[in-house]
Each structure stands twice: as C-alpha cells, then as structure tokens.
Amino acid sequence: MRRIAIFLFLAALPLRAAPATFATRVAPALEKHCAVCHGAEKQKAKLRLDSYAAIVAGADSGPVLKAGDPKESELHRRITLPPHDDDFMPSDGKPPLSALDVKVIERWIAAGAPESAEFDAPAAPVVRVAEPAAPDYLPRLDQARKLATTLGVRLVPRSRVTTDGLVLRTASAPRQCDDALLAKLAPVADLIVEAELSRTRVTDAGLRAVATWSNLQRLDLARTGVTSAGVAALAPLAKLESINLTGTKVDERGVSALKANPRLTRIWTFGTPVASSP
C-alpha cells in the first residue's frame, strides 16, 4: 500500500477573549440547560434561572450568586461538581453545560455578574458551515433512482442531509456495470459524491465519464481493468479525496498523474505494479 499524504493545515483557532454580555452568553446557556426545572413551569428549590432578576433573587435557601466570587457562588459550585455528585446541576442526568459555558459563567460572576455591561469571556467557536458536497438531491432523487434501476445499479443518498450527494452502488451485480453504463449516468453526474465500482467491468474508457462527475470525493476501482492511462484522465476531479486501485494494472505513471488532484490524500495500490515499491 502506498499513501500520498498532502497535509492540509487547518488553522487552529486560539481561544480569543471577546466581549460578552449576560444576554448573549449566559442567559442562553441557562435557558437551554436549566430552565426546564428552574423556569416558568417548575421552580425546583424555589429557584428560577430564566431572568436576571430571578437569578439575583436566588433560591428558597438564599442567594445563589456572590458577585465577584465564583468560588463562593452556589450556582457555580453546582455546575462544577463531578457529574455523578448528587448536587450536580443539571440533575437527573440531563445534558450538562459545556466546558465553555461553565467558563463563561465563571467569568461573568468574577466580573461582578453584570446585568448588561460587557465582560471578557472565551470566544464562542466559529461554526464553519460545511461546504455542500453536491447540489440538493431532493428534487432529482426520483429521477436518479429510476435511472439507476433501469441500468441495474443503485444511487442512494449518502445521508438525510440533501446536499451530501448520492453514492453509486454496484455491489449487487458488479459485472452488469460497464463503461457504457457510466456514460448513461450523465443526467445525475453532479450528484454523485462516491462511486463504488470495484469488481465492475469498468475500463479506461469508462473513466472518461467518471472524470465529468465534478463532485466526486471517493472512487473505488479495485479489481477493475483500469490502467494508468485511464486514471490520468481523472485530473479534472478537484474534490476527489480517495481512490482505491487495489488489484488493477495501474503503475507509477498513474499514481504520479494523480498528483494533479489537489484534495487527493489517499491512494491504495495493493496488488498493482506500484505495490512492489514500498
């Protein structure tokens, strides 16, 4: 086996301090994790945590906050106990606050538990919206399924996220899938993110069709008749991440040609002429 590793350096985001307020950072966390028992419907320990005034008012047994001193604040103590402690909040195995939420609450109390003034807190992580893998399949799913059925293969959604693309499946009858069949998938080419073509009758000619599947990420060609010449045609596949060439005739030339694919990090060449060189 041989892997070509292209290291993608993803910038690790440092925990920047950023201005926060009770309303933007503290209230939402308490609302989400505590309000079911300490809110409008239930007031366990006669404590409500769904407004600033209520938190300051405290519980039956007294205040739960000591402004400026997290260590002396009952509210802080309850959320920093070991999760299995009887006093731990939220109780009853309800989903606990995240470590980040706990930190934010600690900083807020340390800053004097202000109602509207800003305080310094670790920034919320930037949620990176994943780039869609393919166009929405939903409007074309029926069309794709019908086409696949007529051809004797399957096109199945990779997940319920409708921009995750379709997987081309041939395992039920690999010998029915050949070059001509791949060409006929053109109407749904942009939806295919993964193609399982191992043991099919696909050859270099078929890879010319595959090269037009612009959103393809994973391609399994194990034990097919493809060669280096065919594989070189895959250069346009900018999103290709892995390719399995196990048991094919592809040699060094094919593997070097694949260096053109910017995202390709995993190439398997067991049982090929490449494999002999480690």
Binding site: S159, R169, R266
Partner: protein, 493 residues
C-alpha cells in the same frame, strides 16, 4: 403453558408465535380465544404489538464514516490483565489480600463468594510498549502489537451483567433479556443492504481451541428481536456447505428451481392478500435471498483467488474451514462484497482456573488472524470505512479464583471494568481511553457503558442512536434503551 388438547407442545408454541392480529381478524370471531391466548403468553408474535410500518427511511442521519463492521467477539470474557490493561504495581502485591476498600462490598459470584481469601494475582505475562503511540501490549499479542498504532483501546467499559449469557446479550443487543434486536439487525434495518445478493448481517462461530468452560451461543444473540425477521443474521456454517440446502439436488437445474420459487411465491402472495401478514413477505424475501445466494455464495467461499500473502497474514490455519483464522478471512471477503455487519465469535476465553496456560492458547488463536485482518483491510483501502471491534462481554477479577501460584491462577467474572479495542472507520487510531485503578477493579477515569459504546458505533454509521427507534410495547424502543447514553467524541478521529 395452557393446555390445548391433541396438539404437541412444540407445535402449539410455534403456532402461537406465528399468530398475528391479521390472521385473527381474517378468521373472525372464532379466533377470539386464540388471540387472547397469544396475548396471555406474551411471547406471541411481536407484530401483535409492534407497528407494521413499511420500510424505514434507510438514509443515515448524517454522512457516515463506516460502511461495514467486523465485530470479533471474544466470548467467555478475556481477562484485561493479560491483554490490554497493564497493571505493573500488582507484581509487588502477589498473594496479598485485595483491600476491602477497593472491593467496596461488591457482591461476588457464587464461584468465589465462599473463598476464604481474595489474593491478588499479577499477570504472568509481560508487557512492552509498542508502536509510535506506545500502547502497552501483552507478550501474548505479538502480531496485534505490530498494528497497535491502528487501535483505539478502551480500558473502561463496564456492564451490569455478571454472568455470560446476560452479559453477551447486553453486548450484542444492548439488553440482558433475550428478545431484543442485535446491533447487526439494527444496522441492517436502519441502513439496508449494500449488496442485495448476500445477507446484510452474517454470523460465524469459530471452532473452539479449548474444550473447557464452553459458553453456549444461540441465535438469540443475532436475532432481529421485534424488528422484522429478515434483519436477523444468516449464520454461516463451517465446512463445504456454509449455507445448508443451498445446492440444488441432482436433476434440478436453475430454471426448475426458479419456476418452483415463483410458484411458491405466488401462493404466498395470495395468502398475503388475504391476511396481510408482513411475515409472509419476509418468507417471500427469504426464498428470493436463498435463490440469489445459490450464485453469490460459491464465489464467496472459493479462496483460490487469494494471493500467497493472504496466508502469510492470516496464517495457514485460515485454510481450514471453521477456524477463527478462516472466519477472519471470510469476514474480509464478505466486507469486500458489501456485507454490512459480520460478527465472528471465538469462544472459551472463560479462564476460571489454569488461566496462564489457557489464555495463551486463546491469544495464539486470535492474535495473528486478527492482526492479519487489520493489515489486510488497511492495504486494500478498506480500513477507512470498515469498523473492526475486538472484545468480550465483561472483565475478570484481580484476585485469583482457586489456586494461586505465579504461573497458575484463575480469574472470576468482573463486570465493573473491561477492555476492548476498535479500529478503522474514523475511530481515533493509537489512543487509549479510560483508566482503572491499580487493581483494575474500579474505573477511575472516563467510564464507557455498553450503551455509550453502542451509541458510538451507530454514530460512525451516520446514525443518531436516539433517532433509530421503532414503536414496540408502547415505547420508542432503541438499541441504547432508555437510560442515559452518549457518543464518546474522544474515541473519534
């Protein structure tokens, strides 16, 4: 069991199990007594109570990392002390009494409860750090040690069950009472087949290397429970005929067979139209599957296309049908062809006595083929989306059961902690998760309940364990049950 005259008990039971509301309604009021009976017996066809909803939406909830799973089940419970939970401090404690503070009043099994002493038994086998990750690996696993950097070792599994049957059931079905769907059945139900010519869920039991302390394995462990029966595993037999009666008798060719199945299916369809019992469709599906397997299975079991390096990896024993080594190779061949879930059982890890000698035999049986399978999957590019799991059903005690000599001791059952490993399909390679105390008696860091383990496995298949459920007996029944459980993110790459 109620007494019905003139019907043999076994038949009665079978009939009652097949009885459904549809049959009952179809027959009118005369059936009232029967339906009542079926309900009283409780064990009646679950469809009486379950929804008979059509095929579930088999799209994963989110993009999966795993397409298939090979679960190497070490039945009988391998001791963590000689395998994955290295406890160097025990060496100095040979034959000392287990401190009461460690045991914490835990109830012991009948096998050691009456022992006068609970003397500490250190591992007879040595450990060394292996791989870049520096996993501590027992000298019993030299081959697995070489692939240690691919392993995600969990040392803090725990379970409620202290005896084999309920514990194995907990591992395989998430519940210690029989009748629940197995993990493989849930996956088959939730995701469907990759290859429709082969079963989605396959089980293989391996020849036993030792003949003492044998655990029974039954199809309870791979049943579909209250899911439709077609999601249960097909169990492959050792030998020339992995599936019985698959070969056509002399004089029956493919066309004759086809015509026969068409005829039977026709009759079954007529019955279905009359009574609407989904069980009938299952029967039709099974005839079709058997017909397809007539062509898919011979290719599967013909190892002549294997390169010489296969035997170097798995060992020569892999040529002998039914051995664990053979089953490991078969598991790879099934995975290659798109079988979703393959569970290989290797029994007789239950060393209550003579542990050093017997565990060596077991490790010898398991080590090379397991490591060979991992290496093979990796070189073929399949470890990327094949989840491999190795482990048993609970741990074993630090104290010796019976005789204690440095080279001869036994270990009793211990549910409070045990070790397993996973590899591939987006699990984090080269890490060790969870810690036990110096006696590997209690977990001191990062416990992983079986439910959490199951939730994590489903997660790798793109399934949210809270959302894969079916209505059964008034519950949204799911693999992880109703108690809290969570995916363990630290185990994932």
């Amino acid at each position: 069991m109620l007494d019905l005259p003139q019907v043999p008990a076994a038949l009665k039971r079978e009939w009652l199990e097949l009885e459904t509301r549809r049959h009952f309604l179809g027959r009118g009021s005369k059936a009232l007594g029967w339906a009542g009976l079926a309900t009283i017996l409780g064990r009646s066809a679950p469809h009486l109570l379950a929804s008979t909803a059509a095929l579930p939406d088999q799209r994963p909830h989110f993009a999966p990392k795993a397409k298939r799973c090979i679960y190497l089940f070490m039945a009988g419970a391998p001791s963590q002390f000689e395998t994955w939970d290295y406890k160097p401090k025990l060496a100095a404690m040979f034959d000392k009494d287990l401190p009461e503070s460690v045991r914490g009043g835990q109830v012991l099994t009948g096998m050691t409860a009456s022992q006068a002493r609970l003397p500490v038994a250190p591992s007879f086998y040595k450990f060394a750090q292996m791989g870049k990750a520096g996993h501590w690996v027992s000298e019993l696993f030299p081959h697995t040690g070489k692939v240690a950097d691919d392993l995600c070792v969990i040392k803090s599994l725990h379970t409620e069950a202290i005896n084999h049957e309920p514990a194995i059931l907990s591992m395989t079905t998430g519940n210690m009472f029989p009748g629940k769907p197995s993990l493989g059945a849930w996956l088959a139900y939730g995701l469907g087949a990759i290859n429709e010519e082969l079963p989605t869920f396959v089980v293989m039991t391996s020849k036993m290397p030792v003949r003492t302390n044998v655990q029974a394995l039954s199809n309870r462990l791979w049943s579909s429970g209250f899911l439709p029966p077609e999601y249960a595993a097909v169990s492959l037999r050792a030998g020339n005929e992995p599936v019985l009666y698959l070969q056509d008798p002399k004089g029956v060719n493919r066309d004759v067979r086809r015509a026969m199945i068409d005829g039977v299916n026709d009759l079954n369809r007529q019955l279905f139209e009359r009574v609407g019992d989904p069980e009938i469709n299952t029967r039709i599906a099974q005839y079709e599957m058997a017909f397809r397997m007539q062509t898919s299975v011979p290719d599967l079991t013909d190892f002549s296309d294997e390169p010489a390096s296969t035997w170097e990896l798995y060992g020569e024993k892999a040529k002998e049908p039914g051995t664990y080594a053979y089953n490991c190779l078969m598991a790879r061949r099934l995975a290659e062809r798109g079988v979703r879930f393959t569970q290989v059982f290797l029994r007789t890890w239950d060393q209550h006595t003579v542990l050093p000698e017997r565990i060596k035999v077991m490790a010898g049986e398991s080590d090379q083929p397991t490591a060979g399978l991992l290496t093979d999957l990796k070189r073929r590019g399949m470890l990327d989306d094949t989840l491999v799991i190795w482990g048993g059903e609970f741990g074993r005690t630090v104290y010796s059961q019976g005789t204690l000599r440095p080279d001869n001791y036994g270990r009793d059952h211990h549910p409070r902690c045990f070790s397993m490993w996973m590899a591939g399909a987006g699990t984090k390679p080269g890490i060790s998760y969870g810690e036990t105390d110096d006696f590997s008696y209690n977990i001191v860091k990062d416990p992983v309940h079986i439910r959490d383990f199951h939730a994590t496995v489903l997660h790798q298949f793109g399934i949210d364990h809270n959302r894969l459920s079916v209505k059964f007996q008034g519950l949204d029944a799911k693999l992880t049950g109703v108690l809290p459980s969570r995916v363990i993110p630290e185990l994932l790459a």
